[in-house]
Symmetry: C2
Subunit: 441 residues, 2 copies
């Protein structure tokens, strides 16, 4: 059979070791075994599974027993292994194993955002010094191609902003709260029952997962090393049914956003801002329609304008699709020679302090039901230069509330305003403060 790839008879196979056999690992193994003939054509050589490292050999995983091993270190350093696929989760063990693989001259494909957001520097440097590939398309937004478009397709453009819904659990919860009017605790419990939230949902609902992804996106978009520690982070556990009701009244919904922005400071220097928080998003914004466990990433670049990528951000098969794309690319590089793009960190932008970041705000206040309250509240905003876009009074008597929406202001000015409001005699409580993203001005 003639074909276009380098498929000379006797072409040396490309050996793959898979670390971890959970939902994604099992799917990756299935594809390597079931689609062997397509993969061979696309790579130009056979892709051969050398082994699967697992912790527990005691039950039947539906794969030949001789492929399974508990000795990951021995598996990855085998001479006939070219590519190591890390799908273990956690940080410390995968860090050791990925380092060992790179140091042994193996290319690595990983879906581990937490690992990358913490140690991308040492891993990228090891990959470079051993001239191997480190691919991680599956680490952000599952099956949705985001890393490769940012790294390659936009390599000749200047990215200004990346805004994504990159955590399915929180998006499922917020979408459900918006649809049903139920409160947070109830909806989280329901998400757990349906398999959309883990037994310990902290990493998702407190924004750690999204923050790791924001760090990865910001690093790539701005050619600067950004770690999870550089990302400002708020979770969704304080969002109430009342917040969603107020959002609806403003023709908005609430989404947990990962935002990566190029911001120009007062000194004229570009800085990077990476942050994760729940925000009001206008219903006409494309991200507002991303519901349930779906993910979407909007990229704004100087020449390209606004691009949006949408799809399934998690799950065994979608994540395996992204992993296998990386495996095929790494394998092609082995066969044809060459390397994928290396880490690009030349811009070395500083991280912008959160207090300088400007957004619009929604502030919900429980207030005394008497004359002069609005004027006292408005004065506190005005004193700090926070311009008010709209105010609405809701309820009466003990449930009297003011909903204030501001124009763009710095985080510092808003925080100062909220602190001052809290001390006002006529303000019973500042019930919630949320940012408003994706609207004009």
């Amino acid at each position: 059979m003639t074909n276009s790839t380098t498929d000379a008879p006797g072409q040396r196979p490309v050996g793959v070791a898979v670390l971890g056999h959970g939902t994604v690992g099992a799917e990756v193994v299935r594809i390597i075994r079931d689609d062997a003939s397509d993969l061979r054509e696309r790579i130009g050589a056979p892709l051969e599974l050398r082994g699967i490292a697992v912790r527990d050999l005691s039950y039947d995983r539906g794969v030949p027993a001789e492929l399974l091993t508990t000795d990951a270190e021995a598996l990855i350093t085998r001479d006939d292994v070219d590519i190591v696929v890390e799908l273990i989760g956690g940080i410390d063990l995968p860090r050791t194993l990925v380092r060992a693989a790179l140091d042994a001259g193996k290319s690595v494909v990983t879906a581990n955002k937490a690992l990358l957001a913490a140690y991308t520097g040492e891993l990228a440097e090891s990959a470079e010094s051993h001239n191997v590939d480190l691919y991680f398309e599956a680490a952000v937004a599952g099956a949705i191609p985001v890393i490769r478009p940012l790294t390659q397709s936009l390599a000749g453009d200047r990215v200004d902003r990346v805004v994504g819904i990159v955590n399915g659990t929180t998006n499922f919860i917020l979408s459900a709260m918006d649809e049903t009017g139920a409160d947070y605790a109830e909806t989280l419990a329901e998400a757990g029952r349906l398999g959309y939230a883990e037994a310990d949902p902290t990493a998702d609902v407190e924004g750690f997962d999204a923050a790791a992804k924001a760090a990865i996106l910001a690093s790539i978009a701005f050619h600067t090393r950004v770690t999870a520690n550089d990302v400002y982070r708020e979770g969704i556990s304080n969002i109430t049914a009342a917040d969603l009701t107020s959002a609806r009244a403003l023709n908005c919904t609430i989404k947990l956003l990962a935002l990566c922005e190029r911001v120009t400071g007062p000194d004229g220097k570009d800085r990077v801002s990476a942050r994760v928080y729940p925000a009001l998003v206008p219903r006409e914004h494309p991200l507002s329609t991303v519901s349930g466990a779906f993910n979407a990433v909007v990229v704004e670049a100087q020449s390209a304008g606004r691009l949006m990528f949408y799809g399934q951000g998690a799950g065994g098969a979608p994540t395996a699709s992204a992993v296998m794309g990386d495996v095929v690319m790494a394998a092609r590089n082995r066969v044809q020679g060459g390397r994928g793009p290396r880490e690009s960190r030349y811009a070395k932008l500083e991280i912008a302090p959160m207090s300088d970041i400007m957004t619009r705000y929604y502030v919900n206040l429980q207030v005394a039901d008497r004359a002069g309250v609005l004027s006292a509240v408005a004065a506190e905003f005005a004193t700090r230069g926070v311009s008010i876009s709209a105010v609405r009074q809701e309820g009466a008597g003990e449930s009297a509330r003011l909903v204030v929406v501001t124009h763009r202001a710095t985080d510092r000015a808003l925080a100062d305003t909220v602190a001052a409001l809290d001390k006002l005699e006529s303000v019973i409580a500042v019930t919630s403060v949320l940012r408003l993203e994706g609207s004009a001005e």
Copy 2:
């Protein structure tokens, strides 16, 4: 300054020749000149503009005169040119020049879909035999990364379907007709005035442009060489204001779609279907919300599920963004060694005959206003096994009409039915026949 790319002092520059200085060419030249320092870091060597081939030297283009030449052949074969960017348009001249560039060992970046859809075979073979890159991200959907995600990110997946809105002119016209209720001729004239339609709009409105893009998408998605001649094509010039009204009544809009599908024939063999036609799309389908000059491509793959890519499909800056992404990748390959993915055509699927393709249909009939018409019409559908999903009677007397929506049926069965309806005494005319895509069953 330390940095991550191979930027040794004295690194040989990568030379670029740009053919054509229209909207896109001028923008590409601007980026190469204005963003030189970023491009150098991303490539690992300086990117240097060697010259711009134009037809007419007689006016000031705002670039140094010594860069301009009318001798494209001499420019592309210069020893210090590594990458040729073809932005001329047309087919014959670019074919000659691209061939000459590839044969001279230059990598080529082109946005020319018509050229690729006709001659991708000879161009890809020349690129392969000279071991150079042939990149064309800008040829489909402008700034939206589609080629690279399909070629690389989905390299380990099995694509079943690609459906896109890939022509801005027709999408602008159909969106405007939907919003204003105006008829086709009037809206086309308006699109021309606003710069969304060319003086001769044939390539856009008759679907030739979309068909070229469908050929490119189908080739890549299905690892099979598909040319523009293999694409079934209908344009939008017969779409009437009445069709859009009927679509609205069915909670649909009308879009010119490029569809690429893997279809399994009665013999169990996979075939490729590539086709372009206006179709009714339900308002809840993500493609229905893509309006104006925007483009979007939906990809359905076995593991990834449904992905959507959205953005600006045309215009100088967006197209230049895609071109420059390709230029940077081709330049990196020059510096680091290696090659981008070659043409993948191993699957060699046959083209499915249009008559076998199954879709749903909307049929609009002008009928005599008398008893028994519906039964006579329904009988013609039933005889040919075309199952009716809904029928609506509209108007009365001379303007009596029947709107029939079918379940899925083959193109052959539907065409036979329409021919029979045309001969029915009670049918005055078959006013329009459109396909319905993106709905259940």
